[in-house]
Structures are given as structure tokens and as C-alpha cells.
Assembly symmetry: C2
Homo-oligomer: 403 residues x 2
């Protein structure tokens, strides 16, 4: 086992480790870590820079926890929105470097604290805050929508709940500690009082994809490794080609990306009564190792004609779709139960791409039409957002769009 995977293990990362080792050990999961392990603490707790060429939280190595919030604007005044975005940016820059919000001036005990306090003393936990603007943001503020920011088409099988869909602004908070992610969203909600209100929000507890090539691939709630062939956060060529908006987009959006968020409910009780063979046929990969059909190891190449014709992996593979590719950043969720004795569990799927028409939309068209997984999943929430490029020091989120 590598130093990296050990470190991840010890941070409670929810990662599936050592596929080979686990298979070799038969039925025994990793019950013990016999020797003390030397951690490179800096690498897991150093803050991720807020100011950068791109917004952090997109190509950044995926953190363990998510709190995603979609907001509705309650104003049509660009000035009020500018004031909010300046305050949000200042708060985000502080929180991502593990600083309290505000000045904490002495003698302020008769005022509400600037910071709600529950992250006091906690490390930065690799917190990133990523903003995106939905179609309604442009319409309400009478701004020009970017060409490719259109409501998604209806896909067969969609059963979207309006209370879990849409939103004029989204904020994706990712961190290795949920208390840090929740603290960040909560304080942005607080600062936004009167200008925005929360439309919906979603917590995710187990990442289901990785953008770190040498990390072990995590498993989704169907028990399968997920995200084996994701774009690496270090692969600048692929990121430029498939993720970052380039010259074709408006200036404020260059270096940014389009985000499609989908809440995908899994009917895990039904899935759990399906045979191993059927589960593997549906994915086109083995469950324990994650090997594609025709191969024996997880990272063996996907050979399309060795796969069942309508397997999930084959249908979603770039080779089946003229090369369309997205950057995935998914999280599992379990939101209690649904009143029918079933767990309300599934995958909160975040797809970043340069152009939704060459990313999520053709992939989902192919999957919605044919994917045998559709018997076990249902898309119940949806949103699309344009995420601007990186923030320079002294600037604020959306400055180039709004001024």
C-alpha cells in the first residue's frame, strides 16, 4: 500500500483502498493498521488557495465531504448583488484559509458575532468554495446569458422535484471535515439574508470520484468503484479541452466551467436483491476489483466490444460518444428514510464541462435511453450553472460579469 493511500485511510477519507490487497485477503476487510504511520500532515491540512487562475473546487483533488447550496435571488438590483458578492468573496477567502469571518473587534459583544463559531479552532480542512450562476440570475438582473447556459432538456425517466432543482446561484463547499463545509455555507446564508434565500441544499458524505490519478477509486452506494476513468486534476491538456471555457465564451467565463448538478436517487433495496452477475453485467465491470469486462484489473483498458452492449460503462464511455468527456465530482448521500421504509440514498452527481452540449447532455441522452441501471436509479433533482473563472486578489466573484 502506498504512503498516499495510507494517509487517505487514516483521514477517514471513505476511500476504497487497495483493491488488489482486499481481493487477496478474501473476506477480510482492513481491520488493523499494525504499525504507526508517518503522516505528511501539511499535505492534508494546508489550505487550498482561494485566489487562482481557476476557481478552486473543480480540478482540486476531491475532498471527503460536500455541502452544496442553491439560492434564489430575492432582488433584481445588480447593486445589491454586487454588495453581496463582495461580502461573500471576502468571507470565502477568510474561511478557506481557516480564519474567522470579520474583524472580531473588541467591545462588539452587543452585536451578533461576525462568525457563527462552530469552526473555531478547526483546521482549513482543504475547504474550497465554488460559485456558479443559474439561468435565473441573468434573467432577474437583465444580464446576457452565456450561449450555453440553457435549461437542460427533459430526459426520459426524469422525475425532478422543483424543490430540489434550479436556483439562481449555487455554492459548492467541499472540505475534509463536514463541520467546516457546513459552517461555510451557513455563514454565506447568513451574510446573504435579505438578498438571497436557500432554495435547496444537499450534503454529501462519501466522494464517489477522484481527480487524483494515484488515489484509490472510491465506491458508490451500489458497491461499485466509481470514477475510474475521471479526468485527472493535473491533466491540463484534457482540462483545457473538456472543462475550462475558452475563447468561445464571454470574458468573465473564460477559465470557468459549466456545472450540471443532478440528485440521483438509488433504489438500493431493489438493487440489493439483484444477483451479483446482473449487477456486474449492468456496470460492465466486476464488483470487487472494478475490472472492465475482458480485463482483470481496474485500470485495464475498456475494450468496448468485450462489454455487454448496453452496459453503463460502455454507454457512458467517450469511445461510444465521439469523445465527449466531463469532469466528475460526485458524492453519496443518505438523507434519512422516505416514509415507505426505504433509505433516501443515492448519488449527488456534479459534472463540470466546457459545453453541456458536448458533455452531460449527450451522455445523459445515451444513458436515459438505454442504460439498464435506470431500473435502479431516478434523477430527482437538477441544476445548471455557469461558474466564472478564478478570482484575483482584490477582485470578487462575478466582478467581470457585473461591472
Amino acid at each position: 500500500m502506498t504512503q498516499l493511500s495510507r494517509r487517505k485511510l487514516l483521514t477517514g477519507a471513505g476511500l476504497a483502498v487497495g483493491a488488489g490487497a482486499a481481493a487477496g485477503a478474501g473476506l477480510v476487510r482492513l481491520a488493523q493498521q499494525p504499525e504507526p504511520v508517518l503522516l505528511q500532515a501539511a499535505s492534508i491540512s494546508e489550505p487550498i488557495p482561494f485566489h487562482d487562475a481557476h476557481q478552486a473546487g473543480i480540478a482540486t483533488p476531491v475532498q471527503d465531504r460536500l455541502h452544496f447550496a442553491a439560492f434564489d435571488l430575492s432582488t433584481d438590483s445588480p447593486q445589491r448583488v454586487v454588495t453581496l458578492l463582495k461580502a461573500w468573496t471576502a468571507a470565502a477567502a477568510r474561511m478557506t484559509s481557516a480564519q474567522e469571518i470579520g474583524g472580531g473587534a473588541t467591545g462588539a459583544e452587543l452585536a451578533p458575532p461576525d462568525d457563527t463559531g462552530e469552526a473555531l479552532g478547526l483546521p482549513a480542512s482543504r475547504l474550497t468554495l465554488t460559485i456558479g450562476f443559474g439561468p435565473g440570475f441573468f434573467d432577474k438582473l437583465k444580464l446576457t446569458r452565456p450561449d450555453k447556459l440553457k435549461e437542460l432538456p427533459h430526459f426520459p425517466g426524469d422525475k425532478l422535484d422543483p424543490a430540489r432543482s434550479g436556483g439562481d446561484i449555487c455554492v459548492q463547499a467541499c472540505a475534509d471535515d463536514p463541520q467546516v463545509a457546513v459552517h461555510a455555507v451557513r455563514n454565506l446564508v447568513r451574510i446573504g439574508f435579505g438578498v438571497v434565500s436557500v432554495r435547496w441544499s444537499q450534503l454529501g458524505f462519501g466522494k464517489t470520484s477522484s481527480t487524483t490519478p494515484d488515489a484509490q477509486t472510491p465506491r458508490n452506494l451500489m458497491g461499485f468503484k466509481d470514477g475510474t476513468n475521471n479526468i485527472a486534476g493535473t491533466d491540463t491538456k484534457k482540462l483545457d479541452e473538456h472543462v475550462w471555457v475558452g475563447e468561445e465564451g464571454p470574458e468573465w467565463l473564460r477559465g470557468g466551467s459549466y456545472l450540471v448538478a443532478r440528485r440521483i436517487r438509488m433504489h438500493i433495496e431493489t438493487w440489493d436483491r439483484t444477483s451479483l452477475k446482473e449487477q456486474e453485467d449492468i456496470f460492465g465491470r466486476t464488483k470487487r476489483e472494478g475490472a472492465p469486462y475482458g480485463g482483470t484489473r481496474e485500470h485495464d483498458p475498456v475494450v468496448l466490444d468485450k462489454m455487454p452492449a448496453e452496459s453503463h460503462v460502455r454507454l457512458a464511455n467517450p469511445g461510444s460518444l465521439s469523445g465527449v468527456t466531463i469532469l466528475r465530482r460526485g458524492y453519496s448521500f443518505t438523507d434519512g428514510s422516505d416514509g415507505l421504509g426505504r433509505l433516501d440514498a443515492g448519488l449527488f452527481f456534479l459534472a463540470y464541462q466546457r459545453d453541456p452540449e458536448k458533455g452531460f447532455i449527450p451522455i445523459q441522452r445515451a444513458l436515459a435511453a438505454k442504460d439498464p441501471l435506470n431500473e435502479y436509479i431516478q434523477h430527482v433533482g437538477s441544476g445548471i450553472f455557469a461558474c466564472p473563472g478564478g478570482v484575483k486578489p482584490g477582485s470578487f466573484w462575478g466582478e467581470a460579469l457585473l461591472t
Copy 2:
């Protein structure tokens, strides 16, 4: 900073660390961990024994994450329940030692896998599974209820949602990795199909109490340290006096405990607009340090007449209540938003005690009548359960009750 708190920090424990250090550093949270830290890996990833004199998960040092599930019985057949409890116990023993459920026999690919798979390769993560039986369990199976297992009285201000209250059986899954806790509950649900169904379940992401005396005290979502004076898991005298049922109880319950679970919604948006002074007056402690009024450090003794007469800490203090004491095991939750633009957030409060009439009930009577915190919180879910004593190897959960 002690070795212990560093270790906790690095495991993403959601702990508030180094109160003194944080205060000294002014506004700067712990942004960096400059040197590599030597972890005693065994202490954080060794499995917690399932078979013991008491059920694990009560006095066990509090893990970072919770998945709590309440089940309804869909049978009145004690035989079917015995079969279920045997299967559950076998699965629990395996999962808490990081083993897959079932035999994993070869040639079984035409059957559903025995284990749903999403914890494959993950360490035990200090998973504990703790069972309790609610009043309906005894009524439906025509068993004698233990004397002290009565529905809780109505408290002023309660606004209990039946869909988040009650239950014939509860299972508390605690682990340092949420994927491990969710996997455990999900597999018990699966095994229970046809005999029990999930009535409600609750995830918790940040522990708000500690049973480890030298650990730093975590903070709740009001930003205050919570659980400063909890019973230590090593204090066998206090545990025997206040937590474990003794000779006064039926034999199957000796060494067990009564559990009261309360879902406490916090109106955090209102709280966040309250002055620091009012927040501190309400708790009777300072926010940053957690010092009781009249003292300067968190662990300074609580001197009741230095506290505001109706402060939360004074009202709930054993000194105000003829010595009543509970073992607390609370977790923060944030379950999305509530449709009114507010986060559905709060505290999932788990209180263990030898006798609810000498534990949760008098404390909550005092708090419900007078606690100024009631303006900012509301109890919205509730359950009471009798948790049997420890399980011996070869035995099963509830054997002494049901056979």
C-alpha cells in the same frame, strides 16, 4: 497541543482543538500543521470489540459520525424476530471487525451478494452497533416491558413529528467514516426485509460531546463547546451509578441502559442575529473559551450563583437537579433546507441513563420550563429504548429477553 488532539485533528474528527491556543492566536484558525506528525494508527483504526460486558457504542469514546435508524416490526411472531436478531448479531459482529457479511461462497454470482459492497476495503473505522427496544417491541411481541420503559411525557414546547419519533427497535451506528456507518445500517435494513422496516433514520456529522476526558470539547452548531462536563467513558463508578441498569432491572437489561433520542432543530438563522452577550448569557459560558461565568478557563468549576439564574448550563447542572446525570452522545445534523429558505439543522441528542425518571426527564422538565435557549430550539423528534446488556460470543442481541 497534545499528541491526542493532533491525532484527532488529522483524522478530520470535527473536534474543536486547542481552545487556549485558538484564543491566543486571535482570529487565525489552525491553518497549518507544519511538521509531520507520528500517528499511533492502531488507536484510531483498531476495531472496537463487539462482544463485551456492555454493548459498545455507549461508553465507547465517541466516534465522528452517526447513522441512527428506528425500525417498526411488521410481525408479531417472536420466532421471526429471534431469527432476525440472530442474523443481525452475526452481521454486526462481522461488520464491526471490518469483515464482509456472509460467507462470500464462490459460484454465488447468480445470487445477490451477501454484502452490499460499499465498505469493501475500508477499515473498521471504530464502528459500533448498539441496539435498543422501544415500547412497541414489547407490546407487539407480548413481552413484559421493563418498569422504566414508558413513553416520555409531553414537555412544553415539544413539536414532535410522528414520522421522526418512536420505533420498535433502534440501531445506533457510530463510526469515524460515514460510509462505514451507512453501510452497516443499510445491510441491517436489507437483512430485516419483511420483518422490520425503517420508520425513520438520522445521520449526524459532527459529534457534540466526548466521553474522552482529555479530548478537546467539540462545538455544536450554535458555536459553543458542548459536553464539557460529560461522564467519562473510563469513570466506571459514575457509569455504574448513572448509566448501567443494575439489580433493579430485569436480568436481560442489567449492564444495559435506557436511551432517549431527541431530534432538536436549531433556529440557527435567528440565533445568528443574536448578540454575543445574549448568546453567552443564555449558555452561562463564554463562546470562544467555553469558560463558565465566574471562571476563565473551560474546565474551571461551575459556580451556580455566578451564573445567570436561568442559563442553560445552570438549569441542566446536576447541582441544580439533586444530582441527576446522563451520559450524552450528541451529533450535529444538517438535512438540507426546510422550504422556507432556512437550513434544517440542529442537534441529534442521545442520552443514556440508568433510569429516565432520574435522568433525561427531570433535566428536560427543568429546561422546557425555563431555558432561555427554547427561543432558538425545538424538539421535533423523540424516541425511548431499552438497550440490553453486552453480547457474549455465541449469544445474540436480546437472547435473554426472548428465550
